[in-house]
Symmetry: C2
Subunit: 313 residues, 2 copies
């Protein structure tokens, strides 16, 4: 149906030969070749990708948390009260222990203070502006360069094979949409994520949606199959993740009849990226690591299976 | 970018010549011709359509309500208590006055009794099965034949002009998705609607989503811009509705900079379909009718502007 642009060459040049690459190639061939017993018509070739830790780097902290911390600093002049109040005080003093102590409740307060009280259009502008100047603390590059080259090839390969590739992430839906098309080739309507409430308003003849300081949906864990059903309305036949927050998404994609692919990126490469799994503050991989073995999901070792991690290497 | 398949012929043959048809043609030309001062790149050509009363017939009652009433009757043997309890008693006795008296609360009870307690896959099967046998009381045809031919042409014309056409309806998202692709050419991921809560579960090695008896989101009025932002993440440049439930969607699409199209289908044709507006039980058009005049939205008179309403005429 869709021409295989890479049919002549290697569609995954940054992947080492090995069983993960083979499992991807044989899955795609099985579901996209007409006449194959596992053939799936193109409109049903739905693939879902987690973002943080699956498509781009999530260490030493989620990029969107770095964004929130920078925003707190940028807004602190308008909020003199923050110098005495947690979790803001911790942010302004770069006190990561105090920040960790503030826990989930503190995190929500930071998100609300930096994501609410503005229109959707203004928020998108703030995100784009921040991404232009912010730099990763270790690699000293824009965060949008810290995307995994092998995964970009995988996204393109799937799309060239008639798949629709959705992002389904615990990250903020509007934050991701501000750069997903440019960086991943994924348009806004194919991005699913966590969200805060919005309110419709007409002001001076212009219609706007205003961000409210209230959580709408947390797109993680059990929430991922729920949001996939809401946004996509079809069960994916392939799902890609890297942490326990992706467990149910991979179950939803694979625990059904027909040929399926579940794949987990295992961060095993401290030299080129990071090495972490069961104990990490961000993107811990514990239950899903065990499930991968039980369920025959493809486990990708960053160190062994990827020739290159980032494009700039 | 996308070839205009109908460039040689009339893309809207079921529309009479007149100002509504002209306003559609000139809008589409303005936004899709490269070099036009109003040119919009294809990925941003987003059009949203209400469903009930805009794409198919919503009289003498919403199709999904007819579905719920039929389901109550089909399930009544398993629920002997329904013969004595409203709103079920009213349904079983075809007592429309008593049903109206049960109001919104009664409606929600009917929806929960007929839409909850099953998996998403089982619900879709029930919808498909019902649509095969159910008949419209006046036209004695499957509901899926009561779609408006001029609107099918409009959907196709927009898609051929590089638009993405989304359905954004107060109707149930899963109900619509069970037939939207076949009837409108709109795939599940481009359907937005009201929803009930779901819960993820793994049972006997299979992953399922189960419908819970709880409203998740009502996709009507103020809710439509909110859901458009959530699902699509881009502001539509064209919106199509027929009732006050579509007012805010049309405001969201049109009250912004750049060339925009807002269009309202006015039910003026009692002979071929129905005639109703400010006083109707289903799809009343009051505030949005006034707003159409103030805002220069295109007002389509079914009687005057459509050569044909249904394909079977």
């Amino acid at each position: 149906m869709t021409p295989l642009r890479h049919a002549q060459g290697d569609p995954l040049p940054s992947w080492n030969d090995g069983s993960p690459k083979q499992s991807i190639l044989s899955f795609v061939a099985a579901v996209s070749r007409e006449g194959s017993p596992d053939f799936v018509p193109a409109p049903q070739r739905i693939a879902t990708f987690d973002n943080d830790g699956t498509l781009w780097c999530e260490q030493p902290m989620y990029v969107q948390l770095a964004f929130a911390l920078d925003r707190v600093k940028a807004l602190s002049k308008q909020h003199p009260e923050w110098t005495d109040n947690q979790p803001f005080k911790a942010v302004l003093e770069n006190d990561m222990d105090a920040l960790a102590e503030a826990g989930y409740k503190g995190l929500v307060e930071l998100v609300m203070a930096t994501h609410a009280g503005m229109s959707t259009a203004d928020f998108a502008k703030i995100c784009v502006g921040w991404l232009k100047t912010a730099r990763h603390p270790r690699f000293n590059r824009p965060y949008t360069e810290l995307v995994y080259q092998p995964m970009l090839e995988l996204l393109a390969y799937l799309r060239n094979s008639g798949f629709k590739t959705f992002i389904v992430s615990g990250g903020g839906i509007e934050f991701m949409r501000s750069w997903s098309e440019q960086v991943y080739g994924v348009p806004p309507e194919e991005v699913v994520g966590s969200s805060i409430e919005t309110r419709f308003t007409v002001l001076n003849g212009r219609a706007e949606l205003i961000h409210l300081p209230e959580i709408n949906f947390i797109d993680d864990g059990d929430g991922k199959p729920v949001s996939i059903n809401k946004h996509i309305g079809q069960r994916p036949i392939a799902a890609f993740g890297n942490s326990d927050g992706d467990l149910q998404m991979l179950q939803w994609a694979t625990m059904s009849s027909g040929r399926r692919l579940g794949l987990i990126v295992h961060h095993t490469d401290a030299a080129r990226e990071y090495a972490y799994d069961r104990e990490s503050n961000f993107g811990y991989l514990d239950e899903a690591l065990d499930a991968a073995k039980q369920s025959n999901w493809t486990l990708v070792s960053m160190k062994d299976d990827w020739k290159r991690v980032f494009q700039f290497e």
